[in-house]
C-alpha cells in the first residue's frame, strides 16, 4: 500500500516536473533567462580561496565565480531544475537543487537522488554553509604495544606460557595435589578396554578380586616405600 502510494507520488511528481520547460529543452527565441544567486561560506576568506572555488550548475553547463564577499552569481539560465555544486579542491560542500519555474519563481531544496519526492526546503538566495575538509588520505597505522599484545597470535602464545609458569605454583598446594591424586586413582579403578578385549580373546579371565588385590598391593608397596 505504502509502495503504491509512493509510486503514484513519483509518477505525479514526474508529470509535474516534465511539464515544466526543461533546462535543455526547446530553444524558443523568447524564453526568459534567470540569474541564480547565493553565497558560500569559506573556511578562510583569503583571495586564493576565492579563486580556487567555482560554482557549477548541472555539471558545468553554467559556472559562477566567487566575489570577495563570498557571493556568486550564475547569470542568464533558462528555467528548469538544476543541481548547484560548489567545487573546491580541498573542501566538500553539500550540493543544492534549484528549481526555477516558467514564471520565474525560485525554489531551493536539498539534493535527494533516492527520494525525489521528499522536499527539504532550503533558503533562496542559496547559502552553502555546510562544508568539511575533504579527507583524501588514509592515516598510516602506527605501531603500538597494545596492538601487539592483544594480537590473537601473541595471546595464544603467551597464555599457555603463563599457564605453564603459574600452574606448577598452584600445584604446590598439598590439598590440590591430593585431589589430583584422587582423580588419577579414580581413573585407575575404571576397567580398561584393552584388558576387556584381552580377556575376551584369551579366555582365562583373572578374577576381579585378584585384579583389585594386585592394584592394592602396588599401592601399598608404594606407600611403604614412602614410609621408608
Amino acid at each position: 500500500m505504502i509502495c503504491n502510494s509512493f509510486k503514484v507520488c513519483i509518477v505525479l511528481l514526474s508529470i509535474v516536473l516534465v511539464s515544466l520547460p526543461n533546462a535543455n529543452g526547446q530553444s524558443e527565441s523568447n524564453r526568459e533567462l534567470y540569474d541564480i544567486e547565493g553565497t558560500v561560506m569559506l573556511p578562510n576568506l583569503t583571495t586564493s580561496w576565492l579563486a580556487e572555488t567555482v560554482i557549477q550548475l548541472k555539471g558545468g553547463e553554467a559556472v559562477g565565480f566567487l566575489r570577495k564577499n563570498g557571493s556568486f552569481l550564475i547569470s542568464k539560465v533558462p528555467s528548469g531544475s538544476y543541481i548547484v555544486e560548489v567545487v573546491n579542491p580541498n573542501y566538500v560542500y553539500e550540493p543544492i537543487r534549484v528549481e526555477i519555474n516558467s514564471k520565474g519563481k525560485y525554489r531551493a531544496r536539498k539534493v535527494n537522488y533516492i527520494q525525489s519526492s521528499h522536499v527539504h526546503q532550503m533558503p533562496y538566495p542559496l547559502e552553502f554553509v555546510n562544508y568539511m575538509p575533504a579527507k583524501y588520505f588514509y592515516t598510516r597505522e602506527q605501531w603500538k604495544v597494545t596492538d601487539f599484545l592483544f594480537n590473537s597470535m601473541v595471546l595464544t602464545m603467551v597464555l599457555p606460557l603463563l599457564a605453564i609458569l603459574v600452574l606448577p605454583k598452584l600445584m604446590n598446594d598439598p590439598e590440590t595435589k591430593k585431589e589430583m591424586e584422587q582423580l588419577t586413582n579414580l581413573k585407575h579403578d575404571m576397567p580398561e578396554m584393552s584388558e576387556m578385549i584381552t580377556s575376551f580373546f584369551t579366555g582365562n579371565t583373572p578374577t576381579a578380586e585378584k585384579q583389585k588385590e594386585k592394584t592394592k598391593a602396588i599401592k601399598s608397596s608404594k606407600k611403604s616405600n614412602k614410609n621408608n
Binding site: I2, C3, F6, I114, E175
Partner: protein, 218 residues
C-alpha cells in the same frame, strides 16, 4: 532440438515483455534471397507473409528445386558460407535490406530447418536480421532427404532498461528503522532479563563450586 526450444522460449518471453504503444507502419512480408554459388549473386528462396499484429511467430515452408539442393550440398561440402539477403517490406511499401549468413553445412545438417530472427527497435521497425539453424550438426550433409525449407520467423524487441530500485531500498530502510526502534524498546528490559541464560549457569556453577569447597575443607 533442445536449442530450438530454448530459443523459442527466450524469444517468446522477450516479445511478451515489450508492448508497443504506437501504431507503426508495420511489416507485411519478408523476401528471402540466398547465394548458392560463391560470389555468383543471389537467387530467390521464398517470400514470407508476416502479420505483426497477431504477435505470433511465423512458420513457413517452401520447396526449392533439386538443382538448388545440389548446389547447396556442394556449398556445404566445400565448407562455404551460406549468405541470405533479407528484404523486409512494410505495408506502405518501404523496403529495408539486410544480409545475414551461416555456414552452409549447418543449413544442410539441420535438414533445411532455419530460424530467422527479426530484431525490432523501440518503434517496432526492423534493424537487423539474424539467421540460425535448429541444430549444430555440421557433418551429415549427404543425408539430406528433403527439399523443403522450414523457416521460423521470430520477432525480438529490445528490453527496457533497469531503473535504480529506490522504492525497495526506501522500504528496506524503513523496515530497518522500525526494527531499530523496536530494538530500543526492548533495550529497556533489565540486564538480568536479557542475559539470564548466561547468568544462570554461571550462578549455578559458582554455587556448586562454593558448596563443594567447604566440604573439602572439613
Amino acid at each position: 532440438m533442445m536449442h530450438y526450444k530454448l530459443i523459442f522460449l527466450f524469444c517468446s518471453v522477450l516479445s511478451g515483455i515489450y508492448c508497443s504503444d504506437t501504431s507503426y507502419d508495420s511489416i507485411s512480408d519478408v523476401y528471402l534471397e540466398h547465394e548458392l554459388i560463391p560470389n555468383a549473386g543471389f537467387t530467390k528462396r521464398s517470400s514470407i507473409l508476416v502479420n505483426l499484429e497477431s504477435r505470433n511467430d511465423v512458420v513457413s515452408t517452401t520447396t526449392i528445386n533439386d538443382s538448388d539442393i545440389q548446389l547447396l550440398k556442394q556449398l556445404a561440402s566445400k565448407n562455404e558460407l551460406y549468405r541470405l539477403k533479407v528484404t523486409v517490406r512494410t505495408l506502405s511499401g518501404k523496403e529495408t535490406r539486410f544480409l545475414t549468413f551461416t555456414r552452409a553445412c549447418l543449413i544442410v545438417g539441420s535438414k533445411l530447418n532455419d530460424i530467422l530472427t527479426l530484431h525490432l527497435d523501440h518503434l517496432d521497425s526492423p534493424f537487423a536480421v539474424n539467421l540460425a539453424t535448429t541444430s549444430n550438426n555440421c557433418n551429415s550433409f549427404n543425408e539430406l532427404d528433403t527439399s523443403n525449407f522450414t523457416t521460423t520467423v521470430f520477432f525480438r524487441r529490445p528490453e527496457s532498461s533497469p531503473v535504480p530500485d529506490t522504492a525497495t531500498y526506501i522500504q528496506k530502510m524503513e523496515r530497518e528503522r522500525d526494527a531499530r526502534e523496536k530494538g530500543k524498546s526492548s533495550n529497556n528490559k533489565s540486564m538480568l532479563g536479557k542475559y539470564w541464560m548466561y547468568i544462570l549457569p554461571l550462578v549455578i556453577f559458582m554455587m556448586i563450586a562454593g558448596a563443594s569447597n567447604p566440604e573439602a575443607r572439613q
